[in-house]
Amino acid sequence: MRRIIQSKSATPAAPPEYIPELPHEVVLTLDPAVHRCVMTALPGPGDAVTAGQVIAEGKVMRLHAPIEGMVTDAGPPSIRIQRTGANECPESHALPVPEKSAWPDFMKSAGLAGMGGGMFPYPSKMDAAIPLNIHTLVVNAVECEPGIEIDEAILMHHHDFFIRGVDAITQSLNIQRKVAGLRKSNRARLRERLEVDGFDIVVMTDTYPEGAGKLIVRKLTGRMPPTGVRNSELGYLVMNVSSLWALGRRLALGRPSMDRPLTLLAPDSPPRNIIVPVGTPAAHILKVYDIPYDRNTQVLIASGFMMGVEVDPSYAVLKGTNALFVQPLRKRLLEEEAPCILCGSCFDACPLKLHPIGMADRIKARQFSAALEIQLKTCFLCGACAAVCPANIPLAHYFREGKQWLKNVAR
């Protein structure tokens, strides 16, 4: 097989269902690296909280209690809430669409972070986008990470909330054009529905990482957005389906971002799409769905094969966790890094035409240059290069390290 990462899905996504049993405890991290700001816990240990109550506040992000309960630990590093009640928000009601200038505050009150996986705070995103001339809303429904289908499930089964979010954004920001990015294999299932809603469709291939916002904008404009230039600076506001769903629920029900829809994939069971309270431990999800997990023979992955992380069952679902996979531990994953033979597979895999092995070699040798700096800044860590490397070189890991090193150099 040629070294191409396929993201084809032949069958329609299963409808999302709310987890039948709420967790006994939820854990919400206060890690500034996750939220992009320092978070301060508001209640103290022993305080009772209701579902939807603000429990942590930062400059650009807010955390809400996903369930009713009692705070057992106010952190840092995390807030723990012991469940005593349900997850229904008392006194929640539909909210009006905010004025254009009020969007950052509205997003903060909703506690909305990018739900495609990046968890970039929406208040910051809207703050940057509002002064610009945004002419197109791009809904990213490409979902190119193999195995993840939660966005398709939302589009097919929770369409109303999604479209409510879309309408609010387009009307309030006076956006004339709506574009939906789909991939070839889900085009037939979603196209008609989205066209009825007035979307133009842009079809991407069934390969990873075609769902990257940058690549969708490249397809729309015919040019790759330059390094360091945000899509919004080109007039395109790219939003993820789950984020719009969460926004729609905030508007329709008054419910802040406290639920996370995700795809659950395990051996010998069909893929499931479930909605869980943010902060639900993975162990609870596995127990509810009767999924066995053995660390010696399996790997538990949060947020997908390509850009996800290996976690243990104590991992608590974040706002950006779009998938939870239990997969067999394949021998190739355990193999040590071998010397590079310069086969060029990483060059072919890179969607941005970067020089992955050249970058990794220079990072390892700490050979700083302008060419390395701009390539590292351009790289969005999709990991396609590392997945196709026959020598098992963890290239994306080196790039993450390199980006950190660059920041230190800049300081």
Binding site: D348, H355, G358, H397
Partner: protein
């Protein structure tokens, strides 16, 4: 108690085979090529092929024992080097002479050289050594086993018309076609790997579609050669079907370690190798254009990679600058 495994980092998917698998795929194609030659012309050749490939592995094992004092499972790429060498020299060449070539290739060009600093194709280094030391032996080619009449025709169909034979694709695959096409269809034995360019071409496609080789150096090589031939007044089709061009395009210039890793570097290196090969064939003292051409561009590989890296950076910076203006 079992050792606790380390936490893995993304990505958790792997596409394609690992390095060893790539080399085994290449070795498989080369072994089938050797088997094809043995079947058509010289059964004993296959034994020679196997013994020399095994000898190359032994050389590596002994070297590692002497260097590190431990037993080491040899790499498939070592056998590939030996297989390429055996398939590119006359089938009846002295066993010991080929062994010396393999010894030089494996020991000096592969095991003892820092291949980050000097990225020469080990097989070609071995062959260069053989060309210099065994000038006679390396030119004693096996004679064709089939008598052929010369024939020319506007198209292959015209050829069949004149011959009054019914066009039969199966007979083409079996080698019963004459004229300019004879080189393509295994009527003229030369170096064992080069008697049937079609076979090299088919394996080239297989190796490409299995993600083992890249198309760029091979295609660029043929392009460079194909464009230079008419300029120098050389008969293009004759040279393209002579065998060594296809063999080189599929197996030699696609060697990853000795050619540039970057896409642009590969295109430039492949093209240059094709041009130099045509020039050496036409003007050079040696008929062995491939060895000279490929080793020459191998010397450029690190530079080409560095330049490609630098220019990628320049292009990205320019795009950003243009946007900000």
């Amino acid at each position: 108690m079992a050792e606790e495994r380390r936490t893995l980092v993304a990505p958790f998917l792997r596409k394609g085979t690992d390095t060893n698998g790539m080399m085994l795929g290449m070795l498989g194609c080369l072994t089938l090529t050797a088997a094809h030659f043995a079947w058509r012309y010289d059964t004993g050749f296959f034994l020679r092929y196997l013994s020399l490939s095994a000898a190359s592995l032994l050389i590596e094992v002994v070297y590692v024992i002497l260097r590190d004092g431990r037993l080491h499972w040899p790499r498939a790429s070592t056998a590939v080097t030996a297989a390429l060498l055996v398939l590119s020299v006359p089938a009846r060449m002295s066993w010991i002479q080929i062994f010396y070539g393999i010894l030089v290739a494996v020991l000096f060009a592969k095991c003892m050289t820092d291949r980050n600093a000097l990225r020469l194709n080990p097989m070609l280094v071995g062959r260069l050594f053989m060309m210099l030391l065994f000038t006679q032996g390396i030119q004693e080619w096996l004679n064709p086993s089939v008598e052929i009449d010369a024939f020319s025709s506007a198209t292959p169909l015209g050829l069949y018309l004149a011959e009054d034979t019914v066009y039969n694709p199966l007979s083409i695959l079996a080698g019963s076609i004459r004229g300019d096409w004879e080189g393509v269809y295994a009527l003229v034995p030369g170096a064992p790997g080069e008697v049937m360019p079609l076979l090299a071409l088919v394996f080239g496609f297989i190796l490409y579609f299995t993600g083992i080789i890249d198309w760029r150096p091979g295609i660029a090589f043929i392009l460079g050669f194909g464009l230079t031939c008419p300029i120098l007044g050389m008969p293009l089709f004759f040279h393209l079907t002579a065998g060594s061009i296809m063999f080189t395009a599929v197996y030699i210039v696609t060697d990853p370690r000795s050619m540039p890793g970057s896409k642009a570097g590969r295109l430039i290196a492949g093209f240059l190798a094709g041009v130099i090969n045509a020039v050496v064939r036409n003007h050079g003292y040696y008929p062995e254009g491939i060895v000279i051409a490929v080793l020459a561009v191998n010397l450029l590989s690190p530079t080409l990679d560095r330049l490609a890296f630098y220019f990628r950076g320049v292009l990205l910076q320019r795009a950003t600058r243009r946007f900000n203006q």
